[in-house]
């Protein structure tokens, strides 16, 4: 009933295609950021170390005092004094293999496993200074905290992008539909004149736009997934770094398949609303 206007067709299909492509990337980014944030969060829970250097006589006292303090500190899951062998293994690279580690007065090392949000390093240091003067707290894994925050931030951005893309797609399709309806004012007038009901006229538009959006989104999703699949190089080199995290793994590949049906539903809703609005107005 409605002429196949090349323009609205290109616009709708093209928009759906481009938006689906972008949505797939945003999804990949979001899922990657999510994975990254999880991984980094996990490494955060790894051990910090407390090193106690004290004269041989005081070592045992200071160690047990330090252990008491650590156990009383909130945010610490467990503490463990390192065995001499472990310590030797840690230091070996820095000395010749024939270093008599056993005979040296080495500092005692305590591994700390954090829990939940982790402990407050500033408060802990202050307490240690007072009671265990020889203790040095090395929370070296702390540097990852801002990166976890950043990954979470990135995940939020990705979710926002997906939402924005969905909204933009809906707006564009609705716009194209209104366009098409306006351009087809004569068609609508003729159909009303010969006694066509609103639903009959609206259907001609919704069907067309839904199909276009579906086709465009399917193509865009396919292209987006293809582009992601063709990005293995980055995965290999930097799979574990911030940027290598962008990409889809395993079951993640199912998520983009939601994009085309979502685009179709969006198009159907937007077009139907636009059609009935125009029909009511045109009288």
């Amino acid at each position: 009933m409605v002429p196949g206007s090349g323009f609205t067709a290109v616009l709708t299909t093209g928009t759906a295609l481009a938006m689906a492509f972008l949505a797939v990337f945003a999804l990949a980014l979001g899922l990657g950021a999510d994975r990254l944030a999880d991984r980094w969060q996990a490494t955060l829970a790894q051990s910090a170390t407390l090193r106690i250097s004290a004269p041989a006589g005081e070592m045992a006292v200071q160690t047990s005092r330090a252990l008491d303090i650590l156990r009383a500190t909130p945010g610490i899951a467990s503490v463990r004094v390192l065995e001499p062998e472990e310590q030797r293994a840690l230091l070996a690279p820095w000395f010749g293999p024939d270093l008599p580690v056993e005979r040296l007065t080495l500092p005692r090392m305590i591994e700390i496993v954090e829990a939940g949000e982790g402990f407050d390093p500033v408060g802990l240091r202050m307490r240690l200074v007072a009671e265990v003067p020889g203790a040095v707290l090395d929370d070296h894994s702390r540097w990852r905290a801002p990166m976890v925050a950043a990954a979470a931030h990135l995940r939020t951005l990705a979710v926002l992008s997906v939402a924005l893309i969905a909204a933009a797609t809906a707006a564009m399709v609705a716009l194209a539909a209104s366009f098409s309806l306006a351009a087809n004012a004569q068609v609508i007038a003729v159909l009303r004149l010969v006694g066509a009901r609103d639903a009959f006229i609206a259907r001609a538009f919704t069907r067309r736009f839904t199909l276009r959006a579906l086709a465009g989104a399917a193509l865009g999703t396919g292209l987006g997934m293809g582009a992601l699949a063709l990005m293995p190089a980055l995965d290999g080199i930097a799979g574990d770094t911030a940027l290598g995290g962008i990409g889809l793994r395993g079951r993640d590949w199912l998520w983009p398949l939601l994009v085309p049906p979502f685009a179709a539903i969006t198009a159907w809703t937007a077009t139907r609303a636009a059609a009935f609005r125009v029909l009511r107005r045109e009288g």
Binding site: M1, L191, G195, R197, F200, L279
Partner: protein
Amino acid sequence: MIRLEEVAQDYGDRRLLRDVDLHIAKGSFHFLTGPSGAGKTTLLRLCYGELTASRGRVLLFGEDRKDMGRDALADARRQVGVIHQDCRFLDHLGVAENVALPFTAAGLPVPADDLRELLGWVGLAAQAQARPPTLSGGERQRAALARAVIAQPAVVLADEPTGNLDWEMSLRILSLLVELNRMGTAVLIATHDLNLIRSAKAQVSARVLRIAEGTLQSAGSDL
């Protein structure tokens, strides 16, 4: 079937029509004349419910236009064949498909034989597949007429249906409408062509109405 009671129509501040009473009964034949800009097209648009009267009541098949929903109005329009002054078509469909639109829009099958016969009668057999924009002015008017009558509506409203037609073709169109009228269809023709009215009066008992100074009057006996 269509009844206007004390109808008035305003465009903005301007009262174009007032005190219009008109009854298009089954089997009636009306002509509507009046100078250009008098309100003939406006009156027709009131009759098929495209305009809502500023005052008064318009009854379409017994129902008040003001109380009708959009679907009820659409259904009522299937009973009314309209030939617009500026004939509008679906330009991407062929002439035959356009003429068949009243069936398509109602979801009914198209009677192919009737369609072919009607197109032959209005002289568009050769143009059945042509796109409306390539038609000549008169061909468009004939296509609009065919579309208006194909579904055998209860009422035919024709706005200047012979404005672009030569005299022979005008008579041919007239005889089609007279034939329909004899079969019970009510016909209302808005026209400037006094010769056409005279010809018709020789064939059927037609009432001639005239819009003058915003009111609807019966035309003098000279017609």
